[in-house]
Subunit: 356 residues, 3 copies
């Protein structure tokens, strides 16, 4: 797509933004790039002040930035209150989402006769769809994916290569799953009998709501009984482990390598930062934030931010950390007090200090 700065400002206005253009309205724009990589024909942006010095050197044809930020003269500037939100709109406008190659009739795929697939499917070779699966319209399924018996899936499913979905999984509309992710494998369900682990059949399922996107190489256990749930609009990054029977609410964000143990309940609009872990059978409240690498061992209140391992609310942590950093100072104070007390005792008793 090729367009002009003027047109791009119109696009932003249609999205409820109020851009101010400084420079040439007819400058031609073909793409979006970072400050470092932008060249002629690219619009770029400054959102994180850390990168402000790159304004000097960027070769892009226009820069999206906040009102009031100093910029070198002679540049085309689009000033807008939220540059990152604006650039998001411009990326969609200029580049769009990934286009998936249309395919002829499915070939070299294994689709069970009892499976029912909606209109306009794009199913690559090497896909297996097992008995009694139901899939909605407009699915795109890349090579090497496996969908087990009795899965029920909505419209606009997008599976990247080598995704595996075990039997009985229920998936809503507009769900995207990236390569290598496994949904609804058996969890760690065993009973100990005479010193050996005996497997408990894992008869529960996984339920994934509408508009969920899941990254690559994640593992989501099926429930032992009942359901493991991922709520509407929730986004998972890569290498995330979701334990059996965990329930994650709507519009959450789980960063890479997060692990939830079994039967955890996560509210809506929760953020779990990278490598955070949560023990079983506790609740993370709505709107809570769990810091990177935190180890959550107790339920977290709505809106609370916790960090550390074991995790504690951020306000308590700050207090403890300040004190922990002051340990050397405390240590010196104690030594000084000891000496003073010994001296006082000596003065009072007319004796040399005890123990010295």
């Amino acid at each position: 797509v090729q367009t002009t700065l003027e047109n791009l400002c119109d696009v932003l206005r249609r999205h409820g933004m109020q851009p101010t253009l400084e420079g040439a309205p007819t400058a031609e724009i073909r793409g979006v790039a970072t400050l470092e990589e932008a060249g002629p024909g690219d619009v770029t942006f400054l959102s994180n002040p850390k990168y402000e010095k790159l304004l000097q050197s960027t070769r892009g044809s226009a820069i999206v930035l906040k009102p009031g930020v100093a910029a070198p003269g002679g540049r085309n500037l689009i000033r807008v209150a939220e540059p990152y939100a604006a650039i998001t709109v411009l990326i969609v406008e200029l580049h769009g989402y990934r286009r998936h190659r249309p395919l002829p009739e499915p070939q070299h795929v294994q689709i069970a006769p009892s499976a029912r697939i909606g209109r306009n499917p794009t199913i690559h070779p090497g896909v297996t769809i097992d008995a009694d699966v139901v899939i909605g319209d407009d699915c795109i399924i890349y090579p090497g994916c496996y969908i087990g018996p009795n899965c029920r899936i909505g419209d606009r499913l997008l599976l990247y290569p080598n995704v595996v979905i075990y039997d009985g999984t229920q998936i809503g509309h507009r769900v995207t799953i990236h390569a290598g992710t496994v949904v609804a494998n058996d969890g760690l369900g065993y009973a100990q009998v005479n010193g050996a682990w005996v497997k408990i059949p894992q008869i529960g399922i996984v339920e994934i709501a509408d508009d969920v996107e899941i990254g690559s190489n994640c593992s989501i256990d099926r429930a032992t009984l009942g359901r493991t749930k991922i709520g509407k609009g929730t986004k998972l990054s890569n290498l995330i482990a979701i334990g059996h029977g965990a329930h994650v609410g709507e519009h959450c964000m789980l960063v890479a390598q997060v692990g939830l143990a079994g039967s955890v309940s996560v509210g809506h609009h929760v953020t779990l930062a990278g490598q955070a872990g949560v023990v079983g059978h506790i609740r993370i409240g709505d709107g809570a934030t769990v810091a990177a690498q935190a180890g959550v061992t107790n339920s977290v209140a709505d809106g609370e931010t916790v960090l550390g391992s074991p995790a504690i609310p951020i306000r308590d942590m700050r207090k403890s950390m300040v004190l922990a950093r002051r340990l050397p100072e405390l240590n010196e104070t104690i030594r000084r007090l000891e000496k003073q007390v010994a001296e006082l005792q000596a003065q009072l008793n007319g004796n040399p200090p005890a123990g010295s």
Copy 2:
């Protein structure tokens, strides 16, 4: 399967349990479900006291629970000392283990002419079995699996989709591996030569004993020399990393995202909780427990429980944590002491306190 409460009590007795039935012996039961999800025809259970309030609202036809726990009137109850063990038996009785679809003669599979496969195989399309592989009877291998040259595998192998087993791996009987797991890839074996990493051929193998089950998306390095071993009856969850040359003993339980560095030796009946990590060349003793997110840097004695990063025995940790939590209090005590000492000095000297 449809049966009665009376029959289910007989099943429990055959497993050495002593259930007491309160209610209708002929009540019909078709399945097992959680307290929340159970409906007519389901038997449910109370094991974790946290869920006791759900006894009031469950719609299940019968509840398995401990003797002495209060329950609403008019319910069918099976009282038994270990409700979770009992419900495990009932899940097996009523639901059984996953049934795998029988297949016709293997089609669209790549089996090397030199491979030998036992009786009654179920091999899905898209499987590759490389040269000189030997597999026992009754294997089930889902689509997209790869078994490299010279692997030796026992009876009743169960591989879910897209499992990859590199060359030379030795696997016992009744081993199950979930989707996406990789066994015997090269570990991080390099020597530094003039500032660059030079690869060391990884000529060791992986040996997996009988009755092991491995979760999805795990990575188990082959040994550089010798063997990486997973002992009989040990169970691994998902996204676990086992380093080259690590030896894990019998009947262990490794929770999701655990990482063992190279040449770690883990005894038998060890539990490693989620996201725990162990540095190389140390030993975790028999029956030891490593807490979630623990970072184990020293060998752990038999039966010891360790936690924290770096991990310390739980009894030491408790002492330190109590003190760490009391840091604010200690800080105040020190301030008070300082003041008192200054006052005492002033009194003794007839001077104003020094430093104030």
Copy 3:
């Protein structure tokens, strides 16, 4: 390969080492094994002093070890300053690198007509190579791999089974990727609009330089804009998450389960130990070392070693840890001081101690 100790010493000399042979120059050697597993015909080695007692029991025909280390009589010994470097050379000499089965013309593969593949390819069944891909000479691609549109790849690519490479990825020469790894999937790029996450098209790419090796089941995000980069000669272990736009320098070593957030910049010759995590938008300096499980929240200077979560330089950590361990002692000192001060006050006032 069968050879003699004398010949092996010559091999070491050709690699610039200065071995001294004690024992029979004509002893026949066929392989390398660990002290525990070596038998007749094997050369073994002692590098880590922890295993010194195994010198007594090993059944190997020769031992590589340092000058001066005591060894039982009657053994063939090769003494050399760096036994591990020497044994690496001997492994290559005696065992070589993995040999990959040659294949006939590619069969059952899906190669887009617009893809261009160099000379002498080994492409297994079940591989998909999408539109406009360019691959150099001598590639080896195992079953179940997927290479998306517009990828540009150099010579001697080695992909183990089920590797997935998304569209537009650029890969240098002699790159090896182990099974199940996913390169250039979309990262966690969303903008929050009215309480829901809206996807930002991820139009950046991944660039992997020459001589990189990546372990199994890793996930490397494509950049939102620009590039995610893995530098020349860098080696990754398994289950590693690299965030969108992260740049990893040359000759680094990333151990299993490391996670880098988006836009991290890692210098050259950096070591990140197992399960370490790094927050976004910071820099890890050249030659720095990040300890296992460290959580890095601030930039790290060149050559610095950091540990802990949040990570601090090792010299500061040692000080804090010593004090943290002395907390119980500090606590007792404070209690004693309190008592002494109360006594002093009582003595001064002729009154019983206040508050007791």
